[in-house]
């Protein structure tokens, strides 16, 4: 039976955006936490930690997000967890985010001039104190624009979790398209919703970037 693309189909798609957003937020939080540890390890003065973190970043940035999704999905179920797909989706997106955020934040930490380390060492700060009071507060400012920019990548990449059955935006579009056979309308709508989510974030990231550069130049 072929249905029309009506308001109810539209509302179904729109409502599914909440899963896209929820997934993004959870992946950002979990991935941010893990990514923060990765960034700390990557800038550690312990060589094994640095190597480990570099390996993690290289791995995550060197494999498709889709593979992370499948590995999380099948890995969790093999480990004996019988979990809803949303969990595997969150885990995979968090792993993905950790690799990219870890690298972004490594760069931000290393962008703090080394003299700030030296000046605080000379004042007898311990290394954790240096991170806490001197380095991270400055790194955060540098990190914000690219982190916001990465958020757009994350939102877009959540679309692939549709393949394990999470009914987020892309999957909702697929379902409606299968019923209506109006691909331009359906996926146009889906694309428009993604765009409405992503574009403002992109603009914000660009604006923040411009401001940071202006401040550094001035």
């Amino acid at each position: 039976m072929i249905r029309q693309f009506t308001e109810s189909e539209f509302l179904f798609i729109l409502a599914s955006a909440r899963w896209t957003l929820l997934l993004t937020v959870m992946a950002m939080l979990l991935g941010g936490l893990l990514g923060f540890l990765v960034a700390l390890a990557r800038t550690s003065h312990l060589a094994p930690l640095r190597v480990l973190a570099a390996g993690w970043i290289g791995l995550i940035q060197g494999v498709p997000v889709l593979m992370l999704l499948f590995l999380s999905y099948y890995g969790l179920s093999l480990a004996g967890f019988d979990l809803p797909p949303l969990i595997a989706a969150t885990v995979s997106m968090a792993l993905y985010a950790s690799g990219y955020l870890g690298e972004i934040w490594r760069g931000s930490i290393q962008a703090v001039p080394w003299q700030q380390w030296e000046a605080s060492s000379a004042l007898a700060f311990s290394r954790p104190q240096q991170y806490r009071y001197i380095i991270l507060p400055q790194a955060v400012r540098i990190a914000i624009p690219p982190t916001v920019g990465f958020l757009v990548q994350l939102v877009k990449n959540t679309s692939i979790v549709s393949i394990i059955g999470v009914v987020e935006l892309a999957r909702a579009g697929n379902l409606v398209n299968n019923a209506t056979f109006q691909p331009f309308k359906v996926f146009g709508t889906v694309a428009a919703i993604y765009f409405i989510i992503c574009w403002p974030i992109s603009l914000l990231a660009r604006r923040l970037e411009g401001r940071l550069h202006a401040r550094r130049a001035g």
């Binding site: 003299q115 000046a119 000379a122 004042l123 700060f125 104190q129």
Partner: protein, 243 residues
């Protein structure tokens, strides 16, 4: 008992020996100037005394803290040794007052009230009492350098090390920083300063050390060092337009 005692200190960077057996004693309240050509090891010596560089052999003792090649106990040492560099390196995300209060609060664990009073006191000492709430970026180079001095002083160090603290400043800003240091000396601070300001060294320092090729080449009362240099190297250094 001397505040700083440096005994036969050797420091290498890779294969290059930069300090070749330094002996130096700084008594309480003494002001010692270190002069010498660029590359003679002056900065390295100061950095070793603060524990920023690890020494390969010899012994450095600062008010009871001993550093040797093992490199232990550096943090305790640094609490008693202030150092100010050519670049001021204020913390740009903190206001002037916060810059000064942070280390006493975090490192020494003093109360907020105590940190505040130290900050006000040391800012007054460097003549910047009214800039407590300013951002570092809004200060002139000379003012930033004086804040850096105040930041070190707030730790109540037993000795202050200065490494060419006026070299990055325009000539008209140099004077205010030198005046600040001179006042510190008058107030009895023990100081070890690397400088190219020969007139200042001669006037303020009780003793002047001439370093050459990683060694203490000549050393004595400033009047004698500048008035009647003994070695040809020092004579040449003093005669060659200084810098």
């Amino acid at each position: 008992m001397p505040v700083v005692q440096v005994e036969d200190v050797h420091k290498r960077f890779g294969a290059v020996e930069v300090l070749k057996g330094i002996d130096l004693t700084v008594e309480r309240g003494e002001v010692i100037a270190i002069i010498g050509r660029s590359g003679s090891g002056k900065s390295t010596l100061l950095r070793c005394i603060n524990g920023l560089e690890q020494i390969q052999s010899g012994r450095i003792e600062v008010s009871g803290h001993v550093i040797d090649a093992s490199g232990k106990g550096l943090r305790d040492l640094r609490k008693d040794v202030g150092i100010v560099f050519q670049s001021y390196n204020l913390f740009p995300h903190l206001r002037v007052g916060e810059n000064i209060m942070l280390a006493p609060r975090v490192v020494l664990g003093v109360s907020k009230a105590e940190a505040l009073s130290r900050a006000r006191e040391t800012l007054a000492e460097v003549g910047l009492a009214e800039r407590f709430d300013a951002w570092p970026d809004n200060l002139s180079g000379g003012q930033q350098q004086r804040v850096a001095i105040a930041r070190s002083l707030a730790m109540r160090p037993k000795v202050m090390l200065f490494d060419e603290v006026t070299s990055a400043l325009d000539p008209e800003l140099t004077g205010e920083v030198l005046a600040t240091m001179e006042r510190l000396a008058e107030h009895g601070m023990t100081m070890l300063l690397v400088t190219h300001e020969m007139a200042f060294a001669r006037r303020v320092a009780t003793t002047t050390v001439f370093m050459h090729q990683g060694r203490v080449w000549e050393m004595g009362p400033s009047e004698r060092i500048f008035g009647s240099p003994q070695t040809p190297e020092l004579r040449q250094f003093l005669g060659s337009g200084l810098k």
